[in-house]
Structures are given as structure tokens and as C-alpha cells.
């Protein structure tokens, strides 16, 4: 059995390598554009809610902990705590997705969804909501931030162009968090299947490989977010940033 477990774990790691390369391709493209359009990326990053991102990071780290505990409980043969920790992990995962949905909704309201197919059309410079022209107006935000930090206020043309360029930032924001969220949903599916099997009492010290493999997958998804949080939300949060 041990040999089978080692083979399965190795197999799972080989699969995770493919995930590293898949997300990695996206991260690489992100990096290239961040260098090219740094100001726009800063502006875009500042306009997403760092508090929700911070909360989500803690939620996901917590779920990684509960997942590790679920594997531990399965290995110990403790059926009650296997189930409890799996359920906790799923709850935290769901909380993460709900927060993400709220963030996406905010972007929808602010007309920050790139392209003109989904959402109301991209507009970060002209005030997309008529009764609240400041909502989602990145150009205005840049000038206000400069005023508040007592820096020279950048010209209208500059902030408007930078605001237009944020469309690429948001393309990455949605692509990266979207791909991540898609993996979370699959993860929740995997966890429910594990939960069902744990409830059936199928895991114990002799056999807990599926829980371990599920844990590996879940931790990987957590690691992707560990990188996403600073790369998307924390590009430049200093007072002198844009």
C-alpha cells in the first residue's frame, strides 16, 4: 500500500507541475506588461479593494490549515474530525468565493470589466455612473491621490491615458483570479467527494491517500493565491504611489 501511496503522491506532484506551468505562463505575461505599463498597473491595483484581498488571503490560509488537519485526522483514523475539518475547509473555500463574487460585482458596478461584451463596457476615465461620476473613475482617483499626498498633480491627458491602459491590468486581474476561482470550484467538488467518502468511513491509517492528494491540490491553489495577492493588490500602496 505504501508503494501505491508513494506512486500516487508522485503522480499528483507531476500533475501539479503542469498547473505551475499553466499559471506560470499567465504570471509571465503579467510580468511583462507590468514592466511595460507600470503606472497603469499601479493605478489598477490601487482601485481594487486591498481589504477584501487581505481578508481572502487569511481565509485561504486558514483553509489550508484545516485541510492539513483533515489529512492528519484521516491518517489518525479519526472519522469525526476528518469530516469536521473537511467541512471547515469547504466553508472557508466558499467564503473565499463569495468575497470574490463581491469584488467582481464591485468591478462590474465601476465599469472596470475589460472588453465590451460582459459588463457595461470598460470606462476608467470618464465616470461610468451618471449619478456618481467618481465611481470607478481611475483618472480622477490618481489626481486626488496626488493632491492628498501633496505631490504635483499629473495632467489630465496623462491620467486619462493611464486610466485607459488599466484595461490590460484588469484583463490580467480577471484572467488570473478567474482561473484561480475556477480551480477553487473544482477543489470544492473534490472536497465534497472526499467528504462523502470520509462519511462512509473509507479512510484510516492504512488508506488515506485520496485525502492527501486532495490536500496537495488544495494547498497548491492556496499557493497560487499567496502570489496573486501581492502581485495584484499590492503593486504600490505607498503614499507617493499613483
Amino acid at each position: 500500500m505504501d508503494q501505491q501511496r508513494e506512486a500516487s503522491t508522485f503522480g499528483m506532484w507531476v500533475f501539479l507541475l503542469t498547473e505551475i506551468m499553466m499559471f506560470g505562463g499567465l504570471f509571465g505575461a503579467y510580468l511583462i506588461y507590468r514592466i511595460k505599463y507600470y503606472d497603469a498597473f499601479v493605478a489598477g491595483s490601487t482601485s481594487i479593494s486591498v481589504n477584501w484581498g487581505f481578508a481572502n488571503t487569511l481565509v485561504l490560509i486558514g483553509s489550508s490549515f484545516t485541510m492539513a488537519m483533515a489529512v492528519w485526522a484521516a491518517q489518525k483514523g479519526n472519522r469525526k474530525w476528518q469530516i469536521n475539518f473537511l467541512i471547515l475547509t469547504m466553508i472557508l473555500g466558499t467564503v473565499f468565493l463569495l468575497i470574490k463574487a463581491k469584488e467582481y460585482y464591485d468591478k462590474y458596478e465601476e465599469c472596470h470589466i475589460p472588453g465590451h461584451i460582459i459588463g457595461k463596457g470598460f470606462n476608467a476615465w470618464g465616470g461610468c455612473k451618471l449619478d456618481d461620476p467618481k465611481l470607478g473613475n481611475i483618472a480622477e482617483e490618481m489626481q486626488e491621490h496626488a493632491r492628498n499626498s501633496r505631490r504635483p498633480v499629473p495632467a489630465d491627458a496623462f491620467v486619462e491615458q493611464t486610466a485607459k491602459q488599466t484595461e490590460i491590468f484588469f484583463s490580467f486581474y480577471f484572467a488570473m483570479t478567474g482561473l484561480h476561482a475556477f480551480h477553487m470550484v473544482i477543489g470544492l467538488g473534490l472536497l465534497s467527494w472526499l467528504l462523502f467518502r470520509a462519511w462512509r468511513g473509507q479512510f484510516g491509517p492504512d488508506y488515506f491517500t485520496p485525502v492527501e492528494l486532495g490536500g496537495l491540490y488544495w494547498h497548491f491553489v492556496d499557493i497560487v493565491w499567496i502570489y496573486l495577492f501581492p502581485l495584484l493588490y499590492l503593486i504600490n500602496r505607498t503614499r507617493t504611489g499613483i
Binding site: D2, G28, I35, K36, L58, L234, R237
Partner: protein, 102 residues
Amino acid sequence: MADHSSEHSHPTPGLYLVILTCLCVGTVLTYFAATWEMGVFNPIVALAIACTKATLVILYFMHVRYSSKLTKITVVAGFFWLLILITLSLSDYITREWALGQ
């Protein structure tokens, strides 16, 4: 062909709690570090913290610390390959201006 490293017990819940605490501290740290003015070190610090957190998750939550050499090599290979993709692609973009400047 029993692998001795897998006969070590998995980490204890106590150790997991310690790792969890470190990860949370790291998250808080990265949040505040982003607000400090450090110039070119801002992204470096952010990535360093992220890499540390990722390493903790990999070594302890994912049990790589207690896994076979093969697993360890596999993990390193994955990140190494990612580096190839990123550095070689970047080498085009960074050197484009040089060529045009002639």
C-alpha cells in the same frame, strides 16, 4: 524499497498551528510593507515574503520536507522551468529598446 523518510510521522497539529501563525504574520507583514516607501525593494520584499509563505506551505502542509528525494527534485524542477519561461521571454522585451537605440 521502503522509503525511510515516509516512515517519519506527519507533522503534528501543533506544528501546523505554528506554520499557520507564520503565514498569517507574513500576510500582515506584506500588507504593511506595501505601504512603506522602499523604492525598488517594494516588489522584492513582496516576492520574498510570498516565496517564504509558499515554501512553508510546500514543506510542511504539503509534507515535502518528509517526502522522497524524487518528490523534492520534482518540485524544484517545476519552479526552475517556470524561471526559464519567464527569464527568456523577458530577455526579449528588456533588450528590445537596446536594439532600436542603434
